[in-house]
Each structure stands twice: as C-alpha cells, then as structure tokens.
C-alpha cells in the first residue's frame, strides 16, 4: 500500500478518562485506505525533548465521514503533547503503516477480539470491518480497574462485549484469560492486542484450544517503514521489523514460549 505524509486537521480532541485522548482527524482530501491493525506515525513538534514520531494504532477509519480516529494513552512527553491539541490544530501523520490483521476468509468463523489497556484501540476498527463483512465479532476487554475501560459503547455497536477488571469493579474479576465466556463459547479465530504478558497468556490459551491467533505488537520503533531495524521481534525466521512485517503476527511465527 502506498504510504503518505499528511497534514491532518483535528476535528476534536476528546479526553477519555484521565489517561487517554481520542483524536478525531480529517483532511480536505479523501483519506487513503487503511486496514484494521495498521498504524500511523505522528510527528510531535512542540516539545524539544521529543525527536521521533510516535506510532499510534488506527482506532477507526470512517470513509464516509473522512475521519481517522486515534486513541492515545498519555504515557510520556509525546503523547501528553497530543492531549493538548484542539479543534482546528494540524497534526502531521505518516500512514498507513504495517500489515494489519488477516480478515477471515470463512464468514461462518466466530472471531474473538481480546484487548487490554490501550491495546483495545485497534480492535474497534477490526470489529467494524468484521461486522461490515457479515461476521459478528465478540469483544473481550480487560483492564486493571474501571478507570481504564474505554469506548465500551462503541464496541457494543458491533458485537457482544465481555469485560474483566482486576479489581472486579466492572465485569468479571480477574484477567481476560479467566473470563467464563472462554469456557462457555467456541471461537474460530482470536485477535489480541495489549500488554505483552496478556498477549502471551491469550496466545497460550488459543494454542491450547487449537484456535488460530494473531497478536498485534507494540515494540519501540523509530522509522516505521522497515529501514532502521530497531523494533525487531524474534521470530522463527529470525529478527524481523514489527513496523513492516507486523505489527500483526500469527503466534505460529513468533518464538514465544507458549
């Protein structure tokens, strides 16, 4: 897919809880096609301590509204700067980057989308695309407390949503891999994004029940196009760039101990 460097206009920057901001971006021209699981690299200009672009996954892409949504967790100086953006501000973005999730060829397959923390972000767009092709996704979203749960109403538009929180405030108490829906229902495909320990646990569960599983990785990166070889993941074929060969990998390709 052709990649672009675009100056996008902020339609709205919405605070989501205390730790996240939802950026609704648009352009005078039609935005290029983007696939679920792909990401963008955002230029952070205003803070001298930040040099590199920040990779952010695509939360949604709405072709009709010509809108790109980014759900950003406020972690460091770069992401906190993004939270200061206001309607009308311009954000320089390189997109679309990476490979994206593999959509199921068989429409009768029941996909389970498992997200943790800000890792839920790319699963919304994946759910939208699945629904469009006539496949209802099931979401299983986990967080430490109720404060990090985001966009639940949005997810519910596309399929049933199950929740775990570690403190038990919402949904079932515990980790996503402990949720009762996993024992109750059968799934034909798993997609997951979140903290690595969670993805490893999900991958182990999927492997155990014999269901194909794709994970979306968040390795630290610089260039975003496969040039600098900084963001590598150890795979069965050696070190490969998460930004170019990923960020989505089948668990069969990775060297994870699962």
């Amino acid at each position: 897919m052709k990649k672009y460097i675009l100056d996008l206009t902020v339609r709205e920057a919405l605070a989501v809880g205390k730790q996240f901001v939802l950026l609704r971006l648009t352009s005078e021209n039609p935005l290029p096609e983007m696939l679920p699981g792909q990401f963008v690299e955002v230029r952070v200009d205003e803070t001298p301590s930040v040099l590199l672009r920040r990779p952010i996954s695509i939360h949604y892409y709405d072709k009709d509204a010509n809108e790109l949504g980014l759900l950003v967790q406020l972690i460091g100086n770069g992401t906190r700067w993004m939270a200061t953006l206001r309607s009308g501000d311009v954000l320089n973005v390189v997109l679309p980057l990476g490979n994206g999730f593999t959509l199921p060829a068989d429409k009768t397959v029941r996909p389970l989308l498992v997200g943790g923390g800000v890792g839920v972000a790319p699963l919304l767009y994946l759910g939208m695309r699945l629904k469009e092709m006539g496949v209802t996704p099931t979401f299983l979203l986990g967080s430490r407390t109720e404060n990090e749960l985001m966009q639940i109403v949005e997810f519910e538009k596309y399929g049933p949503v199950y929740i775990t929180t570690e403190n038990g405030a919402v949904g079932e108490q515990g980790y996503v891999t402990q949720h009762s829906v996993l024992a109750r229902e059968q799934f034909g495909q798993v997609y997951t994004c979140g903290p690595k320990p969670m993805m490893v646990a999900v991958a182990r569960w999927a492997k155990g029940v014999g269901v194909p599983c794709e994970v979306s990785l968040e390795n630290k990166m610089a260039c975003g196009v496969g040039a600098c070889l900084c963001c590598v993941e150890d795979t069965k074929e050696g070190n490969v760039c998460v930004c170019k060969e990923g960020p989505v990998f089948s668990i069969d390709k990775l060297s994870w101990q699962i």
């Binding site: 975003g224 900084c230 590598v232």
Partner: protein, 303 residues
C-alpha cells in the same frame, strides 16, 4: 537555479545530498516519500560477508534531540544482497552505494570484492566504525594502524570509489583520516555514531539490550561539524559530512566546514521526505547568496 553537482573523487553526484547507511534501508522503503533519482546518493544498509542477526531487542532509546541505537549490523549477507536486493535497486539513476562492514580483514575484503563486480554500484562506504559489534567494526577505526591495514587490504581488490566511514570515538580523528588516506581511500565520511548510554531509573536497567549504543540525531551535530572541519584541513581527499543534519542550513554548515557532500540519517525517521527538502533548501541558499555552484561553498568558512 545553482549548479548542485559535486563529486567524491571520480564519483559524480547530481547534488551533495546522500542518505546515511542504516537510516534509509535500501532506498525503496522511502520511494513513496522521496524521488530516489533526485538524490545525490543512497548509502544502503551495512552489508557483511555473512548473515547477521544483530543484537537482541530493545535496540533503540530516544534521548534529548537524539537517539541511541544498538542494531548491530543486522543484514542477510553479501550473497543475499547481490542476488535479491541488487536487482531491485540497480536501475535507479542515483548513486547506489553499499556500506561494507565486517569483523575481520578477510571479511571486508571478500565483501568488497563481491560488490566490486556489481556494475550499478559505483562506490562503497567502508564501515570501520560501527560501535555495535563486539569484535571488529569500530576496533579497526579506533587506531591509525587498524584503519590503514583494513583500507589497504580492501584497496587491493576494490577499484571504484572507496569511502571510509570514520568513528568519532577516538582521541584524534584526523590521525585516523590521514591513515585511511595514506592507505588509498578516495574519501572519508564522518561521523559515525557516538558511543552513548541510557538508563531506566525506575527499573534500574539499561534501555538497550547491549547497555551502550550509538548516538545520532541533532544533538551530535556540533561534534560532527567540528570533526569535519578538523579532518577537511588534515587530508587532501574529499570529506563527506554527516551527524545530525535535519535541514538545508545544517547541510550548508557541513559544506562550509569542508564537506564535499553530506549524508542525512536520523532526520529520515522524523520526516521521511526530508532529503528532497534539503536539496531545495541548499539550492535556495546558493541563489540567495549568489553562488553559481555548490562547489563554491565547500570549505568556504571564513575564520
């Protein structure tokens, strides 16, 4: 429109702007953003005799106005380059230059010999300065004797333009530059990355798997500029300047200090289209100051 043509020995460049090895892949990764044929040259990823997996993740840490990397020359080896990558880049009209790395003199020689046979590769950049490999690499570049030995050996088998990339992690870089010149180098390029380190205080651990790594980006520019200025006065062969160049003014500064051409590295990560803009900005500077040719500003610093 000024004349932007420059040269590195017998190698003719359409303009002074090249891309630094390890920051631009094989050029094709940036083809959506930059017209590669507009560039003075593309210096492709460091290539070694055999496949190298590089260092474990994490390999990168951002620092104020810079970054550290510890990639460790990950590449699939010179045979893979010749068979699979060369065919995809050989028809570009820019100078495709291969950065040749190694950990033993025989490896450098064997790799250079293979590249010498490739018609569309008019030059190599001999990397005797990579800080991220355990033996070799920088080891050759930190003594005049080591530099001279490896350059002399490669010169025996390589008859096109030989650029030697120097390490800044030395007491006197002019001494190494003179040794490379004496051994038959056509040019020296500098600086490679500066050895640095970053720590995660919360976890009490280094941010790189290798603890130390190579620093690049705008933060190193004053050091690079100083070294280019010193080396340009110390040798007769042309100097290629790099280190923290992010815009046309930076490029001009390196040329005023004595560089015949420049390389853009880390800036490609921040603006993938930056090289094209730098060419335009150099041209605008020359027009604004009434220089007919970019050659007029090489070493034109008034001290």
């Amino acid at each position: 429109m000024a004349d932007l043509r420059t040269s590195i020995g017998k190698l003719e460049l359409a303009n002074p702007v090249m891309t630094a090895s390890g920051t631009f892949g094989y050029g094709t990764e940036f083809a959506d953003f930059v017209d590669l044929d507009r560039l003075g040259g593309v210096i492709v990823k460091g290539t070694t005799l055999y496949h190298r997996e590089g260092n474990p993740y994490p390999r990168m840490a951002e620092t104020p106005a810079g970054m550290l990397n510890a990639v460790g020359l990950q590449n699939k080896g010179v045979d893979y380059f010749c068979e699979h990558i060369y065919p995809t880049i050989k028809d570009y009209r820019t100078n495709m230059i291969v950065n040749v790395s190694g950990s033993a003199i025989e490896d450098y020689v064997a790799t250079a010999e293979r590249i010498n046979a490739l018609e569309a590769i008019p030059a190599i950049e001999l990397n005797i300065s990579c800080p991220n490999v355990k033996q070799g690499g920088m080891a050759f570049g930190v003594t005049a004797k080591g530099a001279e030995e490896v350059v002399r050996a490669v010169r025996q088998v390589y008859d096109k333009t030989l650029i030697v990339k120097l390490s800044p992690n030395v007491t006197d870089i002019t001494e190494i530059a003179r040794a490379a010149e004496a051994a038959g180098a056509d040019s020296v390029s500098l600086i490679n990355t500066l050895l640095g380190m970053a720590i995660d205080a919360e976890r009490r651990r280094p941010l790189l798997s290798t603890v130390t790594g190579g620093m690049s980006g705008p933060a190193v520019k004053p050091i690079a500029l100083r070294m280019v200025w010193q080396v340009a006065k110390a040798v007769k062969i042309p100097v290629v300047g790099l280190g923290g160049i992010t815009n046309g003014t930076d490029a001009i500064e390196f040329m005023l200090a004595g560089a015949s051409a420049i390389e853009v590295g880390t800036a490609n990560f921040i603006d993938p289209a930056v090289t094209g803009k730098i060419i335009d900005e150099i041209n605008a500077y020359l027009d604004r100051h009434g220089f007919a040719s970019v050659r007029d500003i090489i070493g034109a610093l008034e001290v």
